[in-house]
Chain length 199, copies 4
DNA sequence: GATGAATGAGAATTCATTCAT
DNA sequence: CATGAATGAATTCTCATTCAT
């Protein structure tokens, strides 16, 4: 009888290890052996679960996106009114900079590794789809807000894009200079601007 | 001092070559030999001008920042009124996505390569300083606008940070999905929001 | 002793699987896992029957030699007259190129893997002994032919060696260029030459 | 001014080193590092001259074929009469077993590495072409012999194939059991048989 | 006995960097 | 000053083999 393993659990353990290592040292400076050591397994074992270092990054990206989705679902659970959803979303987003800092470092690696437009790249496609999906979600919130009489907005998609880009840009700035601005103040300012824009 | 001029010119040629190559293939997938070939010089010659591949990226980053600065100076030349400056700045910024696309790809490499907070990194410091400097400039515009009675704004720095983060975030999104939004529409929307926020 | 029979059967199945896989991809390009899959057993099970990949090749070589011996025994069954034995042997040998093609590919791997003269190698010893044994058999046929007045031959061993080397060389050439010669024509030519040489 | 190197000479040195190493340990047991050490260069340098280990073997094969050709050209220089050419050729061939022993070991590696019929392989093609070319040469000799009234032969190509296969088979047997037969006796026997066959 | 998950020694290959010319 | 041949440290990935179940 062969050894029985919870493959899904081990996969997650490797991904967590990869996140820790990549976040600390950066993707290219990290060795597969270090990831393996962090996951307390042999380096060959990673290749039982992932095809290559690049594909590990891609899987990690997918894993982080799912985690973020869970995080937002949790933070926004039970909220009904679109303006309140938006408010809480922005608060959660900026709070995540601190809480999920490693995520954002890995995102930088993903951006660099995703390749260029002319290159076919699964990572790139995954990145694009994640943006699209996040925008779709936000569009729905704005549209609901418009329908409910809370918001006025001609171009919900443009607005959603704008808000999310802003969050991503702030994440990037904050990552490279946490002193640059105060997260709470920015949350408030950002919320006020968004509300005024959707007024 | 003709020799000095020559040196400076060759340095620029190498940087331009590096930009082309890095933008097309990404920093880590690019070889020094490819940069040399693009600059039509020998591989070893790069090392007469730059210490290492990493330092070449850092120098390239500085070079690109200077180029961008020139670009904005040119675009905003002669404009006096703060609201018009802001308007033109945003238009120039979004127009640059297309015009300076290679820049943005290299910026992704810089973000990934800049290292982590705990690591000392000249590249990281340069990145942070560039943000600071850009924000300072924008803060001056906003303050001038406030002084001139064009704008109302309690926290110019926060507002400036907000606007620049938004531009960077849009650049990133646009890079990975140029179909996601229309640059002209976004310029308009962005300008309107900014104006309303500073109203 | 049903268990013993079972073991023997499974061993043969593994060897047949190994032959198929090695013949198709070559020894070094074949993985133990592929052999196991072809034998429809688990990877670890092979090691219940063979010590190592190298030893599996050696066992396979032995297995193939035995198969070939059976084949010749069958082809020559009941033939009594030495010239006819020789004739039939040559026909069977060249016919085997097509019929046993996988064997010959594996033989190439054996030659490469058998090691060098200075190295002790069981595979090498087995290879040498197989040649010796084949030659011994052919010498007996020639001697019987001489004794029976069919052949004239001063140095039967030299003649046997010559004939067998010729067969092996032809196998090799045929393997790498099946178009090079027609097997039937070559059989006839070979037979004629041998007969004339032993005339 | 860059370092000037005789690339062709260095290439040959690497090939000679590869031949020594491969012949002693076998292709797969030899490391690139060992070849480099034998050539007294760094292992990276090999890759300046050859694409891969496999391609090094292929180049070595080509190199050895050329060397053999030179050897035969030298041995047969000035000989005019076809029977004498054939006689000398066979003597040279069997003498080469001892003199060029490393060659034959490497040939075994080539046979194993050349791949299977269904696979596209440059090595395989090179192997096949080498056989064809050798046979062509021998066919010319036989045809000249027939034209000159020295030989009788209906199927020169078949005869040539036969003779060369015999030489290759003997090389193989001799490699794995140098005691199996005496080279001089075999030369004489082989020559006699060939002459009788062409009589 | 059978299995296949885990392992880690091992090797090919890459490429930034050096330095003789 | 410029060059590109040479280098070897570094790292990914492979796969024969082991062994817990």
């Amino acid at each position: 009888m062969p050894i029985v393993v919870d493959k899904e659990r081990k996969r997650s353990e490797i991904l967590e290890a990869a996140m820790t290592v990549f976040a600390r040292k950066g993707f290219h400076r990290s060795k597969m052996e270090e990831v393996a050591a962090a996951a307390k397994i042999g380096k060959g074992t990673i290749y039982e679960y992932f095809d290559s270092k690049h594909q590990l990054l891609q899987a990690l990206h997918g894993y982080m996106l799912a985690k973020l989705k869970e995080y937002y679902a949790e933070e926004l659970k039970g909220i009904e009114e679109p303006p309140e959803i938006l408010r809480r979303f922005l608060a959660a987003a900026l709070a995540s900079f601190r809480q999920w800092e490693p995520f954002f470092y890995v995102f930088c690696d993903v951006w660099a590794e995703a390749g260029r437009a002319e290159q076919q790249s699964l990572l790139r496609a995954q990145l694009r789809d994640a943006y699209k999906s996040a925008i779709d979600d936000l569009v729905l919130v704005i549209e609901a807000g418009v329908a409910g009489g809370f918001f006025h907005c001609d171009r919900p998609r443009l607005e959603a894009e704008h808000i999310l880009a802003c969050v991503d840009g702030l994440a990037l700035h904050w990552l490279y200079d946490p002193q640059a601005f105060d997260l709470d103040e920015m949350t408030e300012s950002l919320t006020r601007t968004a509300m005024r824009s959707l007024g």
